[in-house]
């Protein structure tokens, strides 16, 4: 990467992923999946059974 503002030396671009972030992402995405599925199913469950059965 080119030198950042105020510096005259170049620096290498590296990515340092951390285990902590990986675990955080795992939990966050699992929660996201739960929320994303809870919303629609909850809506459908409010309907009467006969309406659910005749749904097309």
């Amino acid at each position: 990467m080119p030198p950042p503002p105020g510096r005259s030396t170049e620096f290498p671009l590296l990515i340092l992923p951390t285990m902590g972030m990986a675990i955080w992402v795992l939990l966050a995405m699992s929660l996201l999946g739960i929320i994303a599925s809870y919303l629609p199913i909850n809506k459908i469950l409010k309907k009467k059974v006969v309406e659910q059965l005749s749904h097309t």
């Binding site: 009467k48 059974v49 006969v50 059965l53």
Partner: protein
């Protein structure tokens, strides 16, 4: 007396779209009966079955199941009756596509038979009874319509249901399978003593039943 309906009414829609599906229905069904509900389409057959099967509420009137008055607000009681005492056979079979025949049958008794091994044994027994002993591990899409409907008969029987409701169970079957299904239901009715109530507009089936309820425009005729 398993079912007693007292002045049951049900209306759909409002204003000019209003349809009186059931008008002051008084009806009694004995335990162990094999009853058909007949009438043209739009006569209220499905609505009557839905009300008796606790899938829908009546607007007015009283409903006694096995001597107990049904309170449509008591969801826990209604759910208990659905789980233990009622069984359903649907026109479109309504089997879960991701479950095998055996798993489909087992699934309906999840609440009524908490023991998994017992549930499996009973499911196997009923599948044998409907002649599908060799199709237990088959998925619905691999079965013919007649076979699927027999799976759903086995499913409805799980947990020793007192009443099996079937809304047009033969509508999607050919003549041969129609008679196989009705004969099977009749046989189970006689052997197990389970009460059957099914709707049909196929007059050929009316010879097979012990009594018929005729509906026209929401009224008993």
């Amino acid at each position: 007396m398993l079912i007693k309906l007292n002045k049951i009414s049900k209306t759909f829609g409002e204003g000019i779209k209003e349809v009186k599906a059931l008008k002051n229905i008084n009806l009694e069904i004995e335990t162990g009966a094999f009853t058909a509900v007949s009438g043209p389409s739009g006569s209220g057959k499905s609505t009557l079955l839905n009300v008796i099967g606790l899938l829908d509420n009546a607007d007015n009137g009283e409903y006694y199941f096995d001597g107990v008055k049904i309170d449509s607000n008591n969801e826990a009681h209604i759910n208990h009756l659905r789980a233990f005492d009622l069984g359903f056979i649907f026109q479109d079979f309504n089997l879960l596509p991701v479950l095998t025949a055996l798993e489909n049958v087992e699934m309906s008794a999840l609440s009524s038979i908490p023991n998994a091994a017992q549930r499996k044994t009973q499911a196997q027994y009923f599948l044998e009874q409907v002649g599908l002993k060799d199709k237990m591990d088959t998925f619905p899409h691999q079965l013919s319509g007649g076979q699927q409907q027999r799976v759903s008969v086995a499913r409805s029987l799980m947990g020793e249901s007192k009443l099996i409701l079937a809304d047009e169970p033969t509508a999607n079957l050919d003549s041969e399978n129609t008679f196989i299904l009705i004969d099977l239901m009749k046989k189970l009715n006689q052997e197990l003593g389970t009460t059957f109530l099914f709707s049909t507009h196929d007059d050929r089936l009316l010879d097979k039943v012990s009594n018929t309820i005729n509906l026209l425009d929401g009224e008993l005729v």
